[in-house]
């Protein structure tokens, strides 16, 4: 069932469909290797040659609301277990990956990096 749906999504060349974080993970996994939650955590909490890490705004255990590091604006939890809205909208996830990976790494995240990060976030309670 999942394979068929995945095929349909890929056929239409759009990542605009995802109903759950697991679905989104599968979509990204189609163009990457196997997920590693451990790698995902390292990616998330470390800096990558620039001022911020993902954890700078989302916290190193992203299961609570945090404050934007510059503006102080409340950011809702990132881990799906703490916020059921997370990673349920592929377009929204893609948009934020694009912006925030650019902030943290100075480039877009690869599919492998997205897969690693999402799989780690799914382990957080």
């Amino acid at each position: 069932m999942h394979k068929t749906l995945l095929l349909i999504a890929l056929t239409f060349g759009s990542a605009a469909w995802a109903a759950s974080p697991q679905d989104l993970l599968q979509q990204y996994e189609a163009s990457s290797g196997k997920a590693s939650a451990q790698r995902g955590q390292q990616l998330f909490v470390n800096k990558h040659g620039r001022e911020w890490s993902c954890a700078s705004c989302h916290g190193s255990t992203p299961n609570k609301s945090t404050q934007h590091i510059v503006t102080g604006k409340t950011i809702l939890p990132l881990a799906p277990a703490a916020n059921e809205q997370r990673f349920t909208d592929a377009a929204k996830s893609e948009k934020w990956f694009k912006r925030n990976c650019n902030d943290v790494m100075g480039r877009e995240c690869t599919s492998q990096e997205k897969v690693d990060i999402i799989s780690w976030l799914l382990t957080i309670r």
Binding site: Q67, H68, V70, T71, G72, K73, D103
Partner: protein
């Protein structure tokens, strides 16, 4: 003193005394695009369009990938929609229409004047954090009401 003169003087006094309070309630237009709330209000408060002149809003909307140290890039449709709304409700001929060097609301001369009594350490409090965090002290930011009566500076 003639009665007319007295009347004019008291009228002028009343006007002057009430003007500052009224002037600080610049309002929030009712037809905010959903994209403004979803995109622009995710990292900071949704700033009332009347806080900057059109020229500044234009500058900001055309450099979103370099938005004060972060990448805030948006799809063209949202950029167009938000720009139109900001332009429509931007500061007109009033004091908020002063351009500021980097188009920041917080680096304009009127901002400095309005906040000159706020101690330096206030901006460093965890509950405030940044001059851009209007809602920390201004309780009616979402309504575009910056009247002094609605200010509570947190500890």
């Amino acid at each position: 003193m003639h009665n007319i003169t007295r009347l004019l003087l008291s009228g002028c006094c009343a006007a002057l005394l009430s003007a500052p309070a009224l002037a600080d309630n610049i309002g929030m237009p009712g037809n905010m695009p959903k994209s403004y709330a979803a995109e622009c209000a995710s990292c900071h408060i949704p700033y009332a369009p009347g806080l900057l002149p059109s020229k500044s809003w234009l500058g900001i909307m055309h450099s979103l990938d370099k938005h004060y140290g972060t990448d805030a890039s948006l799809d063209p449709k949202s950029v167009a929609e938000i720009s139109a709304w900001l332009n429509q409700h931007a500061a007109g001929s009033r004091k908020f229409a002063e351009p500021s060097p980097d188009n920041r609301i917080t680096s304009s001369a009127w901002f400095a004047r309005k906040h000159r009594e706020v101690g330096k350490e206030v901006w460093l409090r965890a509950s405030v954090k940044s001059r851009a965090n209007c809602a920390a002290c201004h309780r009616q930011t979402d309504k575009g009401d910056f009247d002094e009566d609605n200010v509570r500076i947190p500890k």
